[in-house]
Symmetry: C2
Subunit: 354 residues, 2 copies
């Protein structure tokens, strides 16, 4: 081994030891925090702040995301010193819900798959787990109505959100799109890239298959076929990427909510989810939104949904920017309360960091 | 917030920054290693050494496993600076194979699920991925014969192993085992706890169900039922643990191998897998093992398997302690070569650390 290589390794070893010493000291401090707070140590707003700050302070060359993943794991381990968190998610294991849970909580908690979204809510409510992770907007299913209904009926609060981004590529053995005849993909992926396909490859025959991995395999059999699939499949089947990120929605993400008995304190970059009702008459929704406009509160999502009881015909789910304790949000919510038949704040929480 | 709490947080923030600075420096060194080694930077033996050293140097209070998980993530991120590793595993996503892959490689690589074990081998052989992770001994299926056959036929080498431990508990709402009438569990778990059940609860009626989570749910419906399942299910369904770790094999682990074009260099605590043939006559296997005994080489596994070709009736898979470059192992292998009809070293690699 060359002298330079040996030196580099020695330096890496020294740095690892310096990191280890600091990890241990950090863990001791975290333990003391646990003693003072008597076990209630998971603070979503604090985690978000730490991750944001380290992302901002990151000098490179590691990408911010990599730094944040490492610190997520560090916080996860420190937190588990007290008692491992218990987190329920919509199973089975290996679904996006599990990925989302691990992305948000690191690998230290005990993760519990459930068979329904309702069971996630019940497990948190009964105290059998500390947190629940439920899909709320799913690129394969759209808005997850069941989650919205449960949030409305249930006393639990939203204390965090997780986003998983999903990219789709056009893969083929062919050198260009000119000679392509067949396109294989899962029906959901075909739907997600529908507009792009209509614009660029309107005459291509689209063959829905069981999975995108299967699509890539089929596309690898001849140069007249192509597939829509993720990057991993291109590597595996030796396909070229003819066009990258062809999903119609460039923010093609699956969103999850973290639910608990309490929402989060202010972190400085928060959002608030709420649900409210409006009478079924022209201009009612417009009037409902006026307090937000007046106080300069941005709305990032508005979603109407048929009410299940008889009192109102529709309820509206809204995400607004800011924490319910921020003065302008508090003022807007107060006025909204006076106007709407019904308002329920589902929780204020830090926007997804990682 | 109390002064002490504020101070603790300030200290934690300072430590995080100190860790961040060192992470960045470590990453720069790792980049330089990559330049010198021209991309070929993943060294399984080096990773194992680093993880072992940090486990040994760990002053607490974090458990060694937590420290090793954090450093696995750090090494994973540094390695990905060059180009993310590509790792194929037996899919679908969410199986134990995926957990094993992430446990071994951290979260930075591109993971590619395949539909067969053979496809994992093909993907590595063709260079579409850098590494493959295949089950070799599975608590739900026993030895995975397909993997052994492929290792025999294929030029790929073993460069690492991963172990996932699986615990089973007896769960119930009942306070003791006296009044129990029914036991629910997945058939595999029933098989895994067979001896314990015969000894302790011979008259209990055993009801195989679709999953252990389902078993726990059924057991939560009355106090005459119990279930065999993991700890997570106990939490979720509010069941008590009547007996912990009741699996017959206390080392109830699922083992995986990491395959690549090359095996690993010496790490100081290695094992070597090999396959050899013996003539079908009394004492043949005993004679085959003599060189190992003579040179003080321990054997940790011996597995016979019908040969698929016509030349020998049986082949033997062996794991021995030590690296093929260790003098005593090299000497034993040399003699073994002279005696056996056929010997193939499948690879030397560090034993699983985490």
């Amino acid at each position: 081994m060359s002298d330079e290589l040996l030196n580099l390794r020695k330096n890496i070893d020294r740095l690892d030891e310096e990191i280890l010493v600091r990890l241990a000291e950090r863990a001791r401090h975290a333990q003391r925090v646990g003693e003072i707070k008597q076990g209630n140590v998971y603070r979503p707003e604090r985690e978000a702040q730490v991750l944001r700050r380290l992302g901002a302070a990151n000098p490179g060359p590691l990408p911010d995301l990599a730094v944040q993943r490492i610190f997520r794991e560090i916080m996860s381990a420190c937190l588990a010193l007290e008692r491992p968190l218990r987190v329920a998610y919509l199973g089975p294991a290996g679904t996006f819900s599990e990925s989302a849970s691990r992305k948000h909580f690191g690998s230290a908690p005990n993760f519990v798959p459930t068979s329904t979204i309702e069971e996630v809510f019940r497990a948190v409510e009964a105290g059998n787990v500390d947190y629940g992770v439920v899909p709320v907007e799913n690129s394969t299913e759209g808005v997850v109505g069941g989650t919205l209904d449960l949030l409305l009926e249930n006393p639990l609060q939203i204390c965090g959100e997780v986003k998983l981004r999903i990219h789709q590529h056009l893969l083929s053995k062919a050198a260009g799109i000119g000679a392509l005849k067949r396109l294989y993909s899962h029906a959901q992926s075909l739907a997600q890239c529908h507009e792009w396909l209509n614009r660029k490859l309107p005459s291509l025959s689209r063959v829905p298959v069981a999975s995108n991995a299967e699509a890539a395999r089929l596309a690898s059999e001849d140069a007249e076929s192509c597939a829509i699939a993720g990057e991993a499949a291109a590597d595996l089947y030796g396909l070229g990427v003819l066009a990258a990120n062809i999903e119609d929605d460039p923010n093609n993400t699956t969103c999850f909510l973290v639910i608990a008995h309490h929402d989060a304190d202010r972190s400085g970059q928060d959002k608030t989810s709420l649900v409210c009702s409006a009478p079924n008459r022209p201009g009612a929704v417009h009037a409902l939104l006026e307090p937000l406009a007046k106080h300069g509160v941005s709305m990032s999502k508005l979603q109407s949904r048929p009410a299940r009881g008889g009192l109102w015909e529709y309820v509206f789910y809204m995400d607004i920017e800011g924490h319910r304790d921020d003065p302008e949000v508090a003022a807007a919510l107060k006025e909204l309360n006076e106007r709407a038949g019904f308002v329920k704040v589902l929780g204020s929480y830090p926007g997804a960091v990682i």
